[in-house]
Amino acid sequence: MTCLGLEVGLRFLPVNSGVRMQETTPSTPYARYRPLQPYVYSYGWAMNNAQTGVTSREGFNNSKDFADGANALVIGDSFIEAYMVPYADTVQGQLDAALGKVYAASSSGNGLADALQLSRIFVPRLHPKTVVLFVEPWDLRLIDQGSGRGHNLFVFGKDGVTVEHQPYVESKIKLQMLRSALARYVYYNLKLPDWAQGKGAGPAAGPAADAAQRAAAVARRDKAMDYLLKELDGLQRQYGSRFVFLVDADRATIYANGKAKSNWLPGDREYLLARLRAGGFGIVDMEPVFNEHWNNYRERMDSLPMDGHWNKVGHKLAAEGVLKLIGK
């Protein structure tokens, strides 16, 4: 009775609908959603920040439908996909308002291997003048790690680094289950499966193992970055697109006046910026921008502690940074 009551009640509330992913194939090896799919987004138990929308024909959120001759293509993860921000407030929405023909190819959980795969597929199709590639701390932290289904990962073989795709096949049981508003609430709003997985995780490794693992991870990070930047440089040269890296700031430490623990691993951020400079890539570093904004207005660039994704302030400052760099 209670379940039935909850089911009926939740059907009138903005429960996160979830967005069905499209199954991936060898010719489409990247995460995207079913095209033209209406959705409801909300966050947490109280269904905060409810937003509605429809995915694009290419299966991305917060993007106009793609057309050749793009002025810019924005590639990234959930920060760019940005279910929590209306299209007009997103980086790509604001760039489109300023430049026209700006598109976004981003999906939640994307890493740098996904960014490379998306660049390989969409740069030849759209011929964008600028490719804005969003990078956040976890992109570097997890650069040598496995990926979720539908995503790509760097594989470190004897012959060097390659990119491998993990196919996504939709679960029929999950599909049936998520017809229920109560199940969707528990799955997407409460994220009960994530919590259960976290509870089942084993203990962390000791400090000695940490140091050895970190050294090995740094070596793999360097190899992956060598490969990534070489491939992107090749695309730049072949198609005349310019790659601009949009690098997230260390917001937690900005808010805490340097006293909070950084999301970047020690040295990762400096390493990334040095490599990009050496490779001649464009850089929009949000650190000084966010820092200045915080000092002037004491205004957050996200919705922490509820949600660490950029809010409209973060997106606006990022768009201004990109426009400044590309000359408009």
Partner: protein
């Protein structure tokens, strides 16, 4: 172990109830021992390191109490008094060492300029509550209110898990007769459902209301306290006012409900304090068992109101300062206690002038004045330092944000979702002022009629609904990150 976790609700509680009532069928004393062991496991699950301290405290107080009773029985009143003093010194020494040593050393170093580091002693959870419970026990022994002492009953009286961590502060005479009563040990499905009703009301208050409004407190008190608009400062202060209210009210309801399931009625600790029309009334409704303890074991022994007005105010001030200090080793708590001491003095002075005159106007004005005084004092109570408290209070008075803050892109939502916050505050105000509390709605003390009505299929239906609702609330609590009850820190 926290009441608002799956581990407690789905594992500990059913096993404890089943074990207690099954053993009760065979052996009443055995069920008391079982509940004592269960309570010790409950405490140790949190942090087993403090178990030896709890055990030492219980054993020492048990034997001290017995020595007092035996001395009284022999008419050796001087010896009984010596045992009482020894017991009080022991308890206060434990409390001072574990709760106040860091504070004393740090302040001594600050005053003398000596380079002494804080000893970094951790606060054992529940020490304030189990120490005060046992001080009251020793005094009751000395006053002849306690005549028998059985170790398992005494152990359970102190460790009984619904009250161990955050109260209420119990009296031996209230609990032991209930432990001994055969009726207590008989399982009743109606009793279980009534207990579940209280528990679920408390769980809702904790998970939805207290933790829901809590997110508007941190940005004001922990991040932006130096630069706040007037609206932000008031929103943060009111959010904390409701967070603390619902958090403590939730714990009290849950503890009451849990204990009800075991057939044991706990004293009511919280009785809609924000409906008070005076500070005197506020203290009769907020943390009732602590207020009663302070009155009976501190204010009255100091002389109470028997030695003239000046001495009465001095006694009030001392009682409230120590009551403040009981909450924690920080100047903020002392100032908070001092503020309430001043409030009480003013309140008594007004009452001595006006008597009972004033009617509705007095009630309305009294309500607003009381709320204003309470909110201002909560700001001091919540702030991590007096500097932060003064910053927030200044912002409540005239705003301290830089002029540029008015140009923020998010406007009033600059530091938190202000529009949501205002809705939350409005909802909390309505709930606090308009709705009856759990005891007004369901009843106080044993409720045999209600239990009778909730037996059988109707009770099963209600129990099923409460179970599902509780599981949903626990899922929200666990997935969001379980938050402790605020009074666990005191």
């Amino acid at each position: 172990m926290l009441f608002n976790t799956f581990a407690f609700f789905a594992v500990f509680l059913p096993l404890s109830l089943a074990g207690y009532f099954l053993i009760s069928k065979k052996n009443l004393r055995g069920s008391i021992v079982f509940l004592l062991v269960a309570s010790v496991i409950f405490y140790s699950y949190w942090d087993v390191r403090y178990l030896p301290l709890l055990a030492l405290s219980i054993v020492a107080n048990f034997f001290t109490g017995r020595a007092i009773v035996m001395s009284r029985d022999r008419d050796a009143l001087a010896a009984a008094r010596r045992w009482l003093v020894a017991g009080l010194v022991f308890n206060l020494a434990l409390l001072i060492f574990f709760k106040y040593a860091n504070f004393i050393v740090v302040n001594f170093a600050a005053v003398t300029g000596l380079d002494i580091a804080s000893p970094g002693i951790e606060l054992p959870i529940g020490i304030s509550f189990f120490t005060f419970t046992q001080i009251a026990y020793l005094v009751d022994c000395h006053q002849g209110k306690v005549h028998e002492t059985r170790p398992e009953s005494y152990g359970l009286f102190v460790t009984y898990f619904p009250h161990l961590i955050a109260g209420p502060i119990l009296h031996h005479k209230e609990m032991i007769p209930q432990f001994d009563a055969p009726a207590t040990h008989v399982f009743g499905s109606g009793r279980l459902v009534v207990g579940m009703l209280f528990f679920t009301i408390g769980l809702f208050k904790k998970v939805i209301l207290a933790d829901g409004v809590a997110r508007f407190v941190g940005p004001v008190f922990d991040v932006h306290y130096a630069e706040l608009t007037q609206l932000e400062a008031w929103a943060g202060a009111l959010a904390y006012t409701f967070q603390l209210y619902f958090d403590f009210s939730a714990y009290s309801d849950m503890a009451y409900g849990l204990s009800y399931m075991f057939g044991i009625i706990l004293p009511i600790n919280f009785n809609s304090p924000y409906k008070s029309t005076s500070i005197i009334e506020f203290w009769r409704r907020w943390h009732i068992t602590l207020s009663t303890f302070l009155r009976d074991y501190l204010y009255i022994p100091l002389g109470g109101n028997r030695k003239g007005q000046a001495q009465r105010y001095t006694n009030l001030t001392i009682t409230m300062l120590l009551g403040g200090l009981w909450h924690g080793a920080n100047w903020t708590f002392i100032v908070w206690g001092g503020l309430h001491g001043v409030y009480l003095m003013i309140n008594h002075a007004i009452r001595s002038v006006l008597g009972e005159r004033g009617g509705m106007v007095r009630s309305v004005l009294g309500f607003f004045a009381t709320m204003l005084a309470v909110v201002v004092a909560w700001v001091v109570f919540r702030a991590n330092s007096l500097e932060i408290a003064i910053s927030v209070l200044k912002a409540m008075l005239h705003g301290t944000a830089a002029p540029a803050a008015s140009e923020a892109m998010l406007g009033a939502n600059r530091i938190m979702a202000m529009d949501e916050c205002l809705w939350w505050l409005a909802a909390c105000t309505l709930i606090v002022l308009v709705l009856p509390n759990a005891y007004d709605a369901l009843g106080r003390g044993p409720l045999p009629d209600k239990e009778e009505r909730l037996r059988g299929s109707r009770g099963g239906l209600v129990a099923g609904a409460l179970l599902m609702f509780s599981l949903l609330l626990l899922a929200i609590s666990e997935t969001r990150g379980v938050s402790e009850f605020l009074y666990f820190n005191f």
